[in-house]
Subunit: 226 residues, 2 copies
DNA sequence: CACCTTTAAATTGTCGACAATCTTGAGGTC
DNA sequence: GACCTCAAGATTGTCGACAATTTAAAGGTG
């Protein structure tokens, strides 16, 4: 693969080479093609993508700031290790941040936000009825839901922290520990109630429901892990 | 100034040059010596520190990932702009995250954490009595308080997000908009109550008190700003 | 005078090479 | 056999130079 001439499919052109490398590598790490905990060699990747080490280093540094890589001076970079503890920590942080996002969304949401949320919900409903018990609407559907609510909060710092930082770690855990939860039907009802609270402009309730939603998901994982 | 041979006072040696540049520049941005909103030129800074552009670029990218710099492809980097909106957004995120940190600290704190918190509190009490109404214990004292509670939460992701990411922005606002609040005496009482809740292991109360504490500070700022 | 075009200067992006540091494995010592 | 020493190899850190792009100013046109 050669990313130098925008000849690849995933990352659009007009970005810098370093940025395309960053996007490509991020995908491979999230999906586990570059395994968690493995060492990342600069010369090796540079050869693989026909890029210079400089551009590659820039990509690696962005991955580090995403929390997907750990770099140590004069030693090199490793893909972050996945652990039960790390996953649970992620849930606590999400509970706090998405709870706040939900409260703000209930207060700040525009009419377009509401339209989009309702459309998304009915789309998920159809999808869920179709797939009956198989409950595989989660991977994208659940993501959609949380993503859109955060966007509706209108707080750019919150949006950046969740959508550009934490969610890639969330996706990494989902891909690699395969968290296709069997909570689909129940999760859908919870989503539905949360959106109702946002429509009603009830920030306190919206926050409580979102926090409960995330905590239920966390408990579900905890049960599975033992 | 020449950072190449560790000859400077602030950043210790045995770090890479890029990291020393990062630490130095971070300080200058936080304290406003490099003004908010100003353009940052790579060749200029490289000359100033007798470093290559490569090492400097690495420092700039870390600053970008801290949210202190904004970089645009083929255009360059600017120091982030300070705005009323940005400050209020910061308070909302802190309310969510530090509230959670406080809850977790109440549940997870070690005996050493409690000793350190009590010591800190009595130190602040003495300091405050000394300085009577002048109320300047804030800049370091308030920082100490929030910092230590976050540490006691035991959640590494939370600690990293707050202490290595958001707090530099907080300090930047404090330095440059001079937020030496006149809430000193009241803030001290609030700190005291929060630590009591943590000692008692009452997570819910600790979270409520911390969120109220931060929101009060936010309201205080809002009042000042108009 | 406003506006577009063009050209030169400066800045950013990318690269390959050299120096400093770490890792690995062989060999020796107790 | 366990442990230390010390080289060879590989990897990371740093640098200066060239190419691509943007910015600015100069000049022309309506």
């Amino acid at each position: 693969m050669d990313l130098r001439d925008g000849g690849t499919d995933i990352p659009e052109a007009n970005l810098s080479l370093a940025e395309r490398l960053f996007l490509t590598l991020r995908g491979e790490i999230v999906e586990g093609r570059i395994p968690a905990g493995s060492k990342v060699s600069e010369p090796e990747l540079a050869r693989r993508f026909n890029a210079s080490r400089g551009s590659l280093r820039e990509a690696l540094m962005r991955l580090e700031s995403l929390g997907l890589l750990e770099r140590r001076v004069n030693v090199g970079a490793r893909v972050v290790e996945l652990s039960e503890r790390g996953l649970l920590e992620l849930y606590d942080v999400r509970e706090a941040l998405e709870g706040m996002a939900c409260r703000l969304a209930a207060l700040e949401r525009t009419e377009e936000d509401l339209v989009a949320l309702r459309q998304m919900l009915s789309r998920h409903e159809q999808q869920e009825e179709l797939q009956a018990g198989r409950a595989y609407f989660q991977p994208e559907g659940d993501f959609d839901f949380h993503f859109r609510i955060v966007q509706a909060s209108g707080n750019d710092l919150l949006i950046d922290t969740l959508c550009n930082r934490l969610y890639y770690r969330v996706r990494m855990y989902r891909y690699q520990l395969g968290m296709a939860s069997p909570r689909a039907k129940r999760a859908f009802r919870e989503h539905s109630h949360i959106i109702e609270a946002i429509e009603a402009g009830d920030g306190k309730l919206a926050e409580i429901l979102m926090r409960r939603h995330i905590r239920a998901s966390r408990h579900n994982i905890e049960k599975k892990l033992r």
